[in-house]
């Protein structure tokens, strides 16, 4: 019987010929990523709970400080120091302030065919390069670090057949929010979203990252694209080699199949407080906003900065709005400087911040206050996600966010 890409990656990692959904396997992990959200706890457990603390292979480990960077309090700094000291002592690759963890991982580590654990739910992003990346907690991460292995319940795969191409002014983020709105916040719980079809071929690696990144918002264990020529080119540009390039077999088994016609997608927004509360963006136009956020591991890359800059160019951010622009990595930031995008944002009155998780994570920079409203390209709009429990978060595309920042209320780019 045939296997899907996800099943083939797990089979390879488990050292078996074939796996099927529902099996539990012990797998060798190709890589593990941990950020400042939980690493201090991992380090504490490493020193205090283990009888025989050891690291199976330091080369598999990557530590990234991206959530509260630069730190906002002495306690945060203490937690980060623990992480930094550990990385230094053990020779673990360490990144601080260089970008959001998933962006760093994509730029420097992820290879097709790999099985990667990340102590962050958006680790599913790596499927954009045909890798199996999934989010785990710090205990799983610790177990993986010590043994180099973990246990995996082989998930079912759901096929998302994409057709057509996105219309002008409609972005991969609109597509993914549309999908989540349709299938629901647990629509693919414990399953893999496999994106395929002619429409998938029209998407760049950046675009694919946008889709895969949000898969967890529909409950998915991960999302994945076949590592085609587009993915391999991305890899070559960065001097990396695939671990293995897998395709799903003709007779692979899917739990379900969906088809989405890209040409029918319209700009959408997710209303507070749920990612699947998706409506056409026009329906929320006119909502007064206090802050707009362009950034995150979902939507802080050069593509989105270009879209945002084109909209604010020659315009001013509304007086009462704080427009946060946060490149996803130093590499993205640097390129945006070269392309003149940063200058455009700064001249428009935006607040351009160093690459970090910012208000998408709501605990460090750009926190919103009581009853305030944020329109965001971040990953989530949960109650209180960006600050005060009474505050509200709307999710929209980079275009919608930039246009709203200028107008001072939610609007789509064509309404400016």
């Amino acid at each position: 019987m045939g296997m899907t890409i996800a099943e083939k990656i797990i089979a390879r990692a488990a050292g078996v010929k074939a796996v099927r959904a529902g099996d539990i396997h012990t797998v060798n992990l190709d890589r593990m990523m941990s950020n400042d959200g939980t690493t201090h706890l991992t380090v504490d457990m490493y020193y205090n709970k283990l009888k025989n603390p050891r690291i199976a292979d330091v080369k598999k480990m990557v530590f990234i400080v991206d959530h509260n960077v630069p730190s906002d309090s002495a306690k945060t700094a203490g937690s980060q120091k623990k992480m930094r000291d550990f990385a230094r002592e053990h020779g673990i690759d360490f990144w601080e302030g260089k970008g959001v963890c998933h962006q760093i991982m994509m730029e420097h580590y992820v290879c097709p065919g790999e099985l990667i654990f990340g102590a962050d739910s958006h680790t599913c992003t790596y499927g954009a390069l045909g890798a199996f990346g999934t989010g785990v907690g710090c205990t799983d991460l610790l177990y993986g670090m010590v043994t180099g292995t973990s246990w995996v319940l082989v998930p079912e795969t759901v096929k998302f057949n994409l057709t057509g191409s996105l219309p002008e002014g409609v972005y991969p983020r609109d597509l993914m929010l549309t999908i989540i709105g349709q299938i629901g916040a647990n629509g693919v719980n414990y399953q893999v979203m496999e994106f395929t079809g002619e429409g998938a071929k029209t998407l760049s690696v950046n675009d694919r990252m946008v889709l895969c990144n949000l898969a967890v918002e529909a409950g998915a264990k991960t999302a994945i694209f076949e590592a085609d020529e587009i993915a391999l080119e991305y890899l070559r540009e960065r001097g990396r080699e695939p671990k293995a390039v897998f395709k799903s077999d003709e007779d692979a088994v899917y739990a379900k199949e969906y088809t989405f016609d890209l040409s029918e997608v319209v700009p959408v927004a997710a209303k507070p407080d749920f990612v699947d509360a998706v409506v056409p963006a026009r329906e929320v136009c006119g909502v007064h906003i206090d802050e707009a956020f362009l950034g995150s591991c979902n939507n802080g890359r050069i593509d989105e900065l270009r879209v945002g800059a084109a909209i604010v160019k020659g315009r001013k951010v509304a007086e009462h709005v704080r427009f946060l622009v946060v490149p996803a990595s130093q590499e993205v930031y640097r390129q945006a400087m070269e392309e003149g995008l940063i200058q455009i944002f700064m001249e428009s009155g935006a607040i351009v911040m160093n690459p970090n998780c910012s208000v998408c994570w709501g605990s460090c920079q750009g926190v919103i206050g009581e009853n305030e409203v944020l329109i965001s390209t971040g990953t989530r709009n949960f109650k209180g996600r960006a600050g005060h429990p009474s505050s509200k978060v709307y999710l929209g595309s980079a275009a919608t966010v930039a246009a709203s920042a200028v107008k001072g209320e939610i609007c789509t780019a064509d309404m400016l």
Partner: protein, 417 residues
């Protein structure tokens, strides 16, 4: 009898022929600066005092900088209170994310030579760089000014500082002011004005003068004063009036003391934890291992500071596991540094570039440290707990020295790198 710069400004302001130290006079305020952190308190006091109107909205500048970007849920309350006050009283000079207050007050042309200016921040002494009389006050007095346009001041005695000659390479005006604070002591100029003169000062950019005026408060000074010259006129976008051009200490003015320095004698120095007047030569501290470097603040976050740091860091990398945080002083500085490539050089060397604001210097966000960590910083205070816990060690230095330390991962003399 002759007058000092500050005496001339105060006398002119109150319409007197002259004033002398110790006189208590009521001045008419030319400009005030209100910052975000104090705004709720100012508004409360203003209301409590029973004022209905701001005496002159055009003379009021409201700047959000300490709490930008917001790091706590309650921070945006300060913006809201500021916005409401500005709307109610017709304030038009409001800066919500353009940078640090003192940088904006001078850079955006709110302060001119000879002006009398007050701000709710102690580093309001900065505007002495363009020959204004400016000083920091509390929120209660600010509320009273907003209602009346006036404030009483005691005319300060003046200490004169004369520096002649050319500074050695790698020595910046920060090294001068740190040395001076060390010589005077943290209270050596309390209630007094510091008036700067001499060739070295004349040759300095306005930015370098700002660094010195900014830190006058760290010797306890009420204010600082530089002679307005052609550079000042150009910086302020004005032609000096007869009064402004005459703002220099008279030959027979009375100074409480005069300190004379030779520029060639200055060396790179640092203020060591946790007193601003605990000054040591950098060479004496060489080898001290550091965790972080901060280049920014109203003291040293200007274009020439970023360029000086970039020159040191060009083609080099920040030491592993050391964080270099760079915070331009204003949006304008950021854009200029972007234009000339300094930001790119800093970023390529591994710097974290933040949005302009007070950042780490005011201890609310931007790289707070924890017990046992050591930071070299270009800002103005190294007080206990200023950047985190009381077990954080803060060394104050010039941008050149700070940049060199970032590369080395330990304290080094910038000239030697």
């Amino acid at each position: 009898m002759g007058q000092t710069i500050i005496e001339k400004i105060i006398a002119r302001n109150i319409g007197a022929a002259s004033v002398k130290p110790g006189d208590i006079v009521t001045v008419n305020v030319d400009r005030v600066m209100l910052d975000d952190i104090m705004m709720p308190f100012i508004v409360n006091k203003f209301q409590e005092m029973g004022f209905k109107e701001v005496w002159d909205p055009d003379k009021v500048v409201l700047i959000y900088d300490h709490l930008v970007p917001a790091s706590q849920q309650d921070d945006t309350r300060h913006y809201r209170i500021g916005d409401e006050f500005a709307a109610r009283h017709g304030l038009t000079h409001v800066h919500r994310s353009d940078g640090i207050c003192h940088q904006l007050m001078t850079e955006a042309g709110y302060v001119k030579p000879g002006d009398v200016v007050f701000g709710t921040d102690s580093h309001t002494t900065t505007y002495g760089c363009v020959g204004a009389f400016s000083t920091g006050i509390g929120y209660t007095e600010m509320a009273a000014i907003l209602g009346t346009g006036q404030l009483w001041v005691k005319v300060p005695e003046t200490i004169r500082v004369v520096i002649d000659g050319t500074l050695p390479e790698g020595v910046m005006s920060k090294d001068i002011i740190l040395r001076l604070i060390g010589d005077l002591g943290a209270d050596g100029a309390t209630y007094r004005a510091l008036e700067f003169g001499g060739q070295t000062v004349e040759q300095m950019s306005i930015a370098s003068r700002m660094t010195m005026a900014n830190m006058a408060i760290e010797a306890g000074a009420k204010c600082a004063a530089f002679i307005p010259d052609e550079k000042t006129a150009q910086y302020c976008g004005i032609q000096l009036s007869g009064f402004q051009a005459g703002l220099r200490g008279d030959a027979d003015a009375s100074y409480v003391k005069t300190l004379t320095y030779r520029a060639e004698d200055f060396l790179p120095v640092m203020a060591c934890p946790s007193q601003v007047d605990k000054i040591r030569n950098v060479s004496e501290l060489a080898g001290t291992v550091i965790d972080q470097v901060f280049i920014g603040s109203c003291t040293n976050g200007r274009l020439e500071d970023l360029q000086a740091a970039a020159a040191v860091l060009k083609g080099k990398q920040v030491a592993p596991f050391v964080k270099l945080i760079v915070t331009p002083a204003s949006r304008k500085v950021y854009l200029e540094a972007l234009e000339c490539g300094a930001l790119q050089t800093l970023m390529d060397a591994g710097a974290i570039i933040t949005h302009p604001g007070c950042g780490l210097c005011c201890g609310r966000t931007g790289g707070i440290l924890c017990d046992g960590e050591r930071v070299v910083a270009t800002n103005n205070r190294n007080f206990l707990g200023r950047m985190g816990t009381s077990k954080v060690e803060i060394y104050l230095a010039s941008p050149v020295t700070a940049a060199a330390c970032a590369v080395a991962g330990k304290i080094v003399d910038g000239v030697q790198v």
